[in-house]
């Protein structure tokens, strides 16, 4: 019996000439919590698919429980006790909790007919494994993200799992839900189940894992005990770059505010919100998920109907009833969910960049001036260092960080006076996150007024010159980030 439950040794995997994995290794001990980290596209997902049998490696081998395999099929992988919980949880939103839990077992047993009684038993047994409580007849689509994840975990436990692989499990969870998930993970560990936890969030890696492995561009960079790791090393291993975290200091602040919000109210979301914003300032707005912070950004961009208060741009009252009004007034918004709201993913990168300024690039006849369009696209691709071989590729070919830069480019191209960003670095890897912060600070120093709406406290404390805290639809605190710590902000948020 070897010391390790799973050993993946010198795995190479090539896709049409691109080396996704260049001889990486990963060792997991029985019952340990192991964190696999790396930026997007580093090969994490490819290795998971090799371990779960979805891909066959070009060379290298896998040892599980002391037995050596040169390749595994998905069926073998499950039989060996490996379970993967994918980011989308692999659930059926249109079916009941019971069916979601019982399908795998029923299909594995080769049953052809539906037996509700037996399925109910299977489902109850699955839920009891982690003492999770949910009505079996509810449709999974009506559950919260955290509950869906619990369903996926329960289902994975049905197969005498020895290793559970969780692919970025905390992406869509609130802080409280993450804590609950970590409790479950510790419980599973106590039952002797090893967990491979895939994440690129630094604080999570430190909080939960005992050992770590970091990949960069398909290569193993570092592996060891998490206790030997610190923030600096972690970031360096991930990105291969050293970052100087620069605290934002406004280089100048104009006298007159560019944006004044007075007693703005959206019923049911927030009320009586007032603040001023000057050019060169980065204003942070933070608060819990239901504090009204998102609705505030939407209202400023004409996407929520306000019933009271007014908005002044450069001292003049403006009425904003639609995004078109907001753009005309000089307000840009980088929305919370960039994928669904901010980008046309299947469309070329270039189209996405110029979409908001298409009116300005048109001739008097309404035909787009191709030369000016091309120049504009090239300018932004180089300015924001968007990593693409060809701006005519679809946006969906880019990583999260690069997609976020395109959303930025799109708005900067309109030259707004006020740029609002809602969760600008959610789901973005460390390197891109740092780059985006640098860009925002530079923009402010060039005279733009920026609003960052985020619950990432280090982000707002580091990058903002002023910080507003919202709670239950009201602004409850106006803090100076240079003399405030996270605990104080949290205290105001709760």
């Amino acid at each position: 019996m070897s010391e390790y439950l799973l050993r993946a040794v010198d795995i190479v995997k090539t896709f049409t000439g691109v080396k996704a994995l260049q001889g990486v290794s990963l060792d997991i001990k029985p019952g340990e919590i192991h964190c696999l980290a790396g930026e997007n596209g580093c090969g994490k997902s490819t290795l998971i698919k090799v371990i779960s049998g979805v891909y066959q490696p070009d060379s290298g081998y896998i040892e599980f429980d002391g037995r050596k395999y040169t390749s595994i099929t998905p069926r073998e992988s499950i039989a060996m006790g490996i379970q993967v919980i994918y980011q989308d949880f692999s659930i059926f939103p249109n079916l009941s909790v019971m069916e979601n839990l019982a399908f795998n077992t029923e299909l594995a047993a080769g049953h052809k007919l539906v037996n509700k009684k037996r399925m109910r038993q299977i489902a109850e047994e699955a839920l009891s494994k982690i003492n999770f409580n949910v009505e079996l007849d509810r449709l999974v689509g009506t559950l919260t993200v955290a509950e869906k994840q619990m369903v996926a975990i329960c289902r994975a436990l049905m197969f005498n799992a020895k290793l559970i692989i969780m692919d970025e499990p905390t992406t869509a969870l609130t802080k409280k839900e993450v804590a609950a998930l970590f409790d479950i993970i510790l419980k599973l560990k106590a039952q002797g189940i090893a967990i491979l936890f895939v994440s690129h969030k630094l604080n999570e890696v430190f909080e939960i894992s005992e050992r770590f492995t970091i990949f960069r561009s398909g290569q193993l960079i570092a592996t060891g005990n998490t206790s030997d790791l610190d923030d600096r090393k972690f970031t360096y291993y991930m990105t291969g770059r050293e970052f100087e975290n620069v605290k934002f200091k406004p280089s100048f602040e104009a006298e007159k505010p560019v944006l004044e919000v007075k007693n703005l109210t959206v019923p049911g979301a927030f009320e009586d919100v007032s603040f001023d914003l000057k050019p060169g300032q980065i204003l942070g707005i933070t608060g819990l998920l239901d504090s009204g912070r998102t609705e505030l950004s939407l209202a400023l961009f004409g996407l929520r109907k306000t019933t009271g208060g007014e908005i002044l741009m450069k001292g003049k009252p403006v009425s904003i009833h639609s995004p078109r009004d907001a753009i005309a007034a000089g307000i840009g918004l980088v929305p919370e969910d960039r994928l669904s709201e901010g980008l046309f993913l299947p469309q070329p990168i270039s189209e996405n960049i110029v979409i908001s300024e298409i009116d300005q690039l048109s001739t008097n006849l309404g035909v787009v001036d191709r030369k000016r369009r091309q120049a504009e696209v090239e300018k932004w691709v180089s300015e924001l260092a968007i990593a693409t071989p060809n701006p005519d590729n679809a946006c969906s070919t880019l990583s999260g960080g690069n997609q976020q830069r395109i959303v930025l480019a799109k708005w900067l191209a309109c030259k707004p006076d006020v740029l609002i960003l809602n969760g600008p670095t959610v789901g973005v890897d460390i390197g891109s996150k740092h780059d985006i912060h640098t860009i925002l600070q530079r923009l402010a120093n060039q005279g733009m007024a920026v609003i960052i709406i985020s619950d990432d406290l280090p982000e707002v404390l580091e990058n903002c010159s002023d910080l507003l805290v919202m709670r239950a639809g009201k602004i409850v605190a106006n803090l100076d980030p240079s003399v405030t710590d996270e605990a104080t902000v949290l205290h105001h948020m709760m």
Binding site: Y86, F92, P93
Partner: protein
């Protein structure tokens, strides 16, 4: 209370209400709707659209659209009728029905091959095969109207389960034997969809094909056999139509697909796949059939039929779209969440 809210929250409930309201309206205006002969006429008119709707329903649940079934049914029924005419066949209707169903299975397998195994979108494939089936029928089989059909099929189409007589007007209506076909198909489809893992697989594939694959469903095979089954019942519907009309008119069924799809969607079947019930599907179809057949009873000329069917589709699908929109509002969501936590 909870089960009541569950009932009133369902699309079937509303479509049922609209259906009853329409029936009552026609009854009040004409006094003819609930007479025995009209009821039988409506049920008889349901036979062919009903079977088609069941097939379309299953395809939509699996996450696709089938627009080839009228052409598939026409080709199967035409080929069968022609074959048995040329043979001077004098036996019963069972053998022709089985032959037609076999041809339907074969044609359905062609759909299933492209949609299941080559993973092409169902809508595009069936648009193509629809044209191919039509072309084959008109070209290779050189189709023209067959004014006579084999005696056995004729008897099957004209024989009645029972005859309903309107005591006041003296009008009679026969409940055709083919009605049994519709009921049998409905029962089989219900059994498949609710009681077999294959049927649950259809829902699973419609909900999320990747998850279905990971859970262990054979997604390709599920889609393949789904289209084989739909081919079989569509061919059966084609034969029912031919027998009931006492003649084979090759283009008579073409163009039915739009109203069938409309009925299925009206009945609350999600166009993105994965959800819907046979009850809703039948109610939606019945609503369309009643509008198509009964406008004349309230004095609206038949030329207005298309107008009202169209309006019904817009209003019906509009209402379900609105319900989805309100359910997705933040307020509604938080209410849902609270209910869930209780």
């Amino acid at each position: 209370m909870k089960s009541l809210r569950k009932t009133t929250g369902r699309v079937e409930f509303y479509i049922g209400l609209v259906f009853i309201a329409l029936c009552l309206l026609i009854q009040i205006r004409s006094g003819q709707f609930f007479t025995s002969n009209n009821s039988v006429d409506i049920l008889s008119a349901m036979v062919v659209p009903g079977i088609f709707a069941i097939g379309e329903f299953m395809v939509i649940v699996s996450g696709g659209f089938d627009v080839s079934f009228p052409a598939l049914a026409s080709l199967s029924a035409y080929a069968t009728t022609k074959l048995f005419l040329d043979m001077n066949y004098e036996g019963g209707a069972l053998l022709p029905l089985l032959v037609a169903i076999a041809i339907g299975a074969l044609l359905g397998a062609l759909n299933g091959l492209f949609i299941g195994y080559f993973e092409l979108p169902a809508m595009i494939v069936t648009l193509g095969t629809s044209s191919v089936f039509k072309g084959f029928m008109q070209g290779t089989l050189n189709s023209k109207q067959l004014a006579v059909i084999p005696q056995g099929m004729r008897n099957f189409g004209t024989s009645a389960l029972f005859v309903a007589k309107n005591a006041n007007s003296g009008l009679t209506s026969r409940m055709p034997m083919t009605f049994i076909c519709c009921v049998v198909v409905l029962v089989i489809a219900w059994f498949i969809l609710n009681k077999t893992m294959f049927g649950r697989g259809i829902y699973a594939v419609g909900g999320n094909p990747i998850s279905a694959h990971r859970a262990g469903f054979n997604v390709k095979r599920t889609r393949f056999f789904l289209f084989v089954f739909v081919g079989m019942i569509s061919a059966l519907a084609g034969m029912c139509r031919t027998c009931m009309m006492q003649q084979m008119h090759p283009t008579n069924m073409l163009g039915m697909e739009m109203n069938i799809i409309a009925g299925v969607v009206l009945g609350g079947t999600a166009v993105v796949g994965g959800s819907g019930t046979l009850l809703g599907c039948m109610l939606g179809t019945a609503l369309i059939v009643v509008v198509e057949n009964s406008m004349i009873l309230i004095g609206i000329p038949t030329v207005w039929k298309d107008f009202f069917v169209g309006a019904l589709i817009i209003v019906g699908t509009g209402i379900s779209a609105m319900r989805v929109a309100t359910a997705n509002k933040p307020g509604a969501n938080s209410r849902l969440r609270k209910e869930g936590s209780r």
